[in-house]
Amino acid sequence: MKKSGMLDLLVLVIRRDLVLAMRRRADVLTTLIFFVMVVSLFPIGVGPEMDMLRKMAAGVLWVAALLASMLSLGRLFSADYLDGTLEQMMLAPQSLSMLVLGKMAAHWMSSGLPLVLMAPVLGLQYDMSMRSLGVLMVSLLLGTPVLSMMGAIGAALTLGLRGGGVLLSLLVLPLCIPVLIFGTGAVEAASSGLNFASHLSLLGALLVLAMVFTPWVTAQALRISME
C-alpha cells in the first residue's frame, strides 16, 4: 500500500466522476439536448431573416449555454452528499479544495465541453461566419469552465435544501453576467470585424481568477452545509 499525493487524488476524482457520468448518460444528454433544442427553436420562432439571426446568434448561443450548464449543477454535490461520499471526501488527507477542483473539472468535461463542441454546428443555423464560429468556440472554451466553477459555489451553498434548484439559479446567474457579457462581446466583435482579443483576454482572466478562488470558497461552503 502506498500513499497517494495531491495530483493522484485530483486525477482519481476526475476519473471517478467521468465514469459515473458515463454510467448515467441520461444526465449528460439532458444538458446537451436542452442546449440543442433551445438554440434550434429560436430560428423557427423568430423567422428565417438572415440579418436578424446573425445579429442575435452570439446572444442566443451564450444564454442557452449558460442555462444548460445550470441544469446539471444541482447534481454536482447532491449525489455524494446523499450517499455519504462527501463525508469521506472531507476526511481525505489532502485539501478539500483539491477534491472540489477535481469535481469541477469533471463537471465541466461532462457538461461544458459537449456544449463547446456542439456550438459551431448550431451556429451554422444562424449563418455565422467561420471566423465568428471560431471565436464563439474559443469564448465558450474559456467561459464554460468559469460557469461550472461559479456554479459549484452555489451548488455547495444550497446543498441539502428543499427547492435548492431555484435558489441555486438565483445565486449563480447574476455572478455569471460578466462571463456572458465578455463571451457575447467577443463573438459580436468578431462578426463585425473588430478586435476581439480584449474580450477573450478578460474571459481568460476570469477563468484564472475562478480557478484560484472558487475551489477554496466551495470547500468552505461545503463545510458549512455539512454541519
Binding site: 493522484d8 482519481l12 471517478r16 454510467r23 450517499d83 461520499t85 463525508e87 469521506q88 472531507m90 476526511l91
Partner: protein
Amino acid sequence: MLEVSNLACSRGDHRLFSGLNFNLHPGQIMQVQGANGSGKTSLLRTLCGFLMPDVGDIVWNGQKISELAEEYHDEVLYLGHLNAIKDELSGLENLCISAGIAGIELGEKEALTALRRMGLRGREMLPTKVLSQGQRRRVALARLLVSDAKLWILDEPLTALDVAAVALIQELIVAHLARQGMVVFTTHQPLHVAGMEMRILALS
C-alpha cells in the same frame, strides 16, 4: 492519543451534551451509549471534525484537531450510517476509490483480497445496486481491511450484517486494537471484543 475535554454540542437550540471529558489511549476501545437522539452520532461527527463543538477541545497527540486538519484526517477512518458507495460502480471500483480518497493507492489484487475476506467472492465486479443491503455494508466495511488509520470511528457498524459478518468485524477490531489502534463506536447490537476492556461512555 485522543483527549476530549469539556466538550459540548448542540443541534439547533437543543443542547445534546455538555462537559464531556475522556481520553482514549492506543489499544483502547470505547462504546458510546445512549438512547435515540442522545447525540451519539453528533459526538462521532464532532470527533471527525464535521461539526464544530460549542465549547471544549478535541486534542490528538497534543494538538487540536482543528489545527491539524489534514494531518488528523490521515489518522482517522470514519464509517457513518451512510455507506459512501456508488450504485453504478462495482464493489471493486468502490473500494479502490474510497481507499484513494483516504490517500491509499490500492492495487486491484489487494482490493480483491479485501472484498473476498468480507465474503463477497464472485460479486466483486457486480454493480453495487444489485447487491443486498448487507452486502453493500460489507463493501463499505472492506475499507477497514485496507486502511492504516489509527483511530476508527464507527457509527452503527453492525447494521444489516449477519452473524458471520458481525464475527468478522469483531475479529478486525481485536486485530486493530492489538496493533495499538483505537476504536470509538456506537451500536445497539451486542459487540464482544475478546480480551479487551470495553470502556463505556453513556450520553443521557
